[in-house]
């Protein structure tokens, strides 16, 4: 089975790296066939060289979220759906932010900071400010990786706050760019095949940061509050507007099941899925397009306090048509999870119980007993489905292109 994609290069001196043939999952070697065909236009002089190289299309996923909002957990779940654990590149900088597994490479967009920590302090800007980031370099490198060209990506060392020498990143099958600004620059946004935004409400963010930081000596409630408040203007101006561009938004709010709950343990999570996105079909409950309110606890399933409540329905979000699936409450037992999974449709699972299995595999991750873990797992499966659709549509269309 020959897999080939067609790419056209306009300039004669563009560089195209031909990587060594790799084994596909079927065990066959993929050969890279390069066709050269010159067509001279009327008026002479300009040439178009077409070349087809196997396996060069990388699927690019963007994940945007503020610091301390669950990006790392999401990344671990996502890479686990594809199989294998993602680890920092072996033999490289130990403070590298990149994670590499068989199928995926996760790039942290902090590596594209144009100002290091001292530089930002001097100018009085936060990392959230676009002035601290080099969007041109980000666009060039993501574009190169997407077309199958390896890049030397800078490293931002979070421990020292300095920009370290670059590391080589080879184009993977799936590239995930996670950080504060994946959808900020329009050119980068156009390169993304799928984008996700983690929208954590202020109360929940405060509760999570308390959990995270109170273990550190030096932090107090006031310092955590001041830290969040000082970030807010930049966050609202630069990061928050990205959610209108995302294909899927995971919104985390305080629960409505417990009145006056401020511990933030029980969460209400909404998965907002844009309609009409290529290769992405939203998950639904019972009947697609209708509005459903569902409490699974009752005669067939007994849940402990506060129980679980689901809601599904169409809606508009920033002027676009969306479907919203919402879960309020938490899972206590395995059978609650499998019961819920059996009633959701279009999950893109390969077998019955796959969502439950993935959740159990990472039962120690935060959010494994509520909607955050559930929806992150579902989005991971959707991305796998999107990837498979994109790669199969690429194999379907090669020969027609070369005939033209």
């Amino acid at each position: 089975m020959a897999v080939s994609t067609v790419c056209t290069t306009q300039s004669l001196n563009s560089t195209c790296s031909i990587s060594t043939p790799e084994k596909t999952h079927l065990g066959f070697h993929q050969n890279q066939v390069v066709f050269y065909r010159r067509t001279s236009k009327r008026g002479g002089g300009s040439c178009v060289i077409t070349c087809s190289v196997g396996d060069s299309q990388t699927v690019v996923i963007g994940l945007a979220a503020d610091s301390g909002c669950g990006k790392s957990t999401f990344m671990r779940r996502l890479t686990s759906v594809f199989g294998g654990a993602a680890e920092p590149p072996k033999g490289g900088n130990p403070d590298s932010n990149t994670l590499i597994s068989d199928m995926t490479t996760v790039i942290c967009l902090d590596d594209y900071h144009s100002l290091d920590r001292t530089g930002r302090k001097e100018k009085g800007v936060t990392a959230l400010d676009p002035r601290a980031n080099d969007f041109d370099l980000m666009y060039e490198q993501v574009k190169a990786l997407k077309s199958g060209i390896a890049v030397d990506k800078p490293i931002y060392n979070h421990v020292t706050g300095l920009l370290d020498p670059p590391e080589l990143i080879k184009p993977p099958k799936i590239l995930v760019i996670e950080g504060l600004h994946p959808m900020f620059d329009e050119r980068v946004r156009d390169l993304l095949d799928f984008s996700i935004y983690l929208d954590i409400s202020n109360e929940v963010k405060f509760a999570w940061k308390i959990q995270r930081d109170m273990a550190e000596r030096g932090h107090s409630l006031e310092s955590i509050k001041a830290s969040i408040e000082s970030r807010k203007p930049d966050f609202d101006a630069y990061i928050d507007p990205q959610k209108q561009y995302a294909d899927a938004v995971i919104e985390v709010l305080p629960t409505e099941l417990i009145p006056d709950d401020n511990e933030g343990k029980v969460l209400r999570v909404r998965l907002i899925m844009k309609e009409g996105v290529r290769h992405f079909s939203p998950v639904y409950l019972f009947d697609e397009g209708s509005t459903i309110s569902w409490i699974p606890c009752g005669r067939k399933l007994t849940c402990s306090y506060p129980g679980i409540k689901f809601h599904y329905g169409p809606d508009t979000y920033f002027g676009k048509e969306v479907s919203i699936l919402e879960m309020d409450g938490q899972f206590d037992r395995l059978d609650e999870l499998i019961y819920v999974e059996s009633h959701l449709s279009k999950l893109s699972t390969k077998f019955y119980g796959e969502v439950t299995q993935q959740m159990l595999k990472h039962a120690d991750f935060p959010g494994s007993n509520n909607g955050t873990g559930l929806f992150q797992t579902i989005v991971g499966l959707k991305i796998r489905d999107l990837y498979e659709q994109i790669t199969s549509s690429k194999t379907a269309a090669p020969l027609e292109a070369t005939k033209a």
């Binding site: 800007v125 936060t126 706050g161 995270r212 310092s223 970030r231």
Partner: protein, 128 residues
């Protein structure tokens, strides 16, 4: 003679343990436990400083504490230009500290050893 012999044995180990001295902030209690297990003949070694790198979070915790102090000193409301960068640094360091803590949790010495040595007695599994 015996002391000299053990002195020789120990010096290479100490030399190997010396990382970049500028990075490590201070000696802590762990060094004293090392002193206790040295053979009696080498008590003269106690005067020599060995550099023990504590868990990464020690130096990072120090940075967090310092960062918070600097940010709190910054006058004016937290959202003004100067303070904003200081609090951003605190946030960044807190994130690094929490990631370091998570990594420490994952570092089970037995699991790490067994990853490479499955056939040893401690790591054999009898599943069927």
């Amino acid at each position: 003679m015996a002391t000299l012999f053990s002195f020789n044995l120990l010096t290479p180990r100490i030399a190997a343990n010396l990382p970049d001295s500028t990075k490590v902030p201070y000696l802590n209690q762990k060094n004293q436990s090392w002193k206790r297990i040295t053979p009696l003949g080498c008590r003269r070694m106690q005067g020599i400083k060995t550099h023990w790198t504590g868990p990464a979070s020690d130096s990072i915790s120090e940075k967090v504490v310092q960062g918070i102090k600097e940010a709190e000193e910054c006058s004016g409301d937290p959202a003004s230009g100067d303070c904003v960068a200081a609090w951003d640094e605190v946030e960044e360091l807190s994130a690094v500290a929490s990631h370091a803590r998570d990594r420490m949790k994952d570092n089970d010495p037995l699991e790490n050893y067994c990853k490479d040595n499955l056939e040893t007695d401690e790591c054999k599994t009898y599943d069927n």
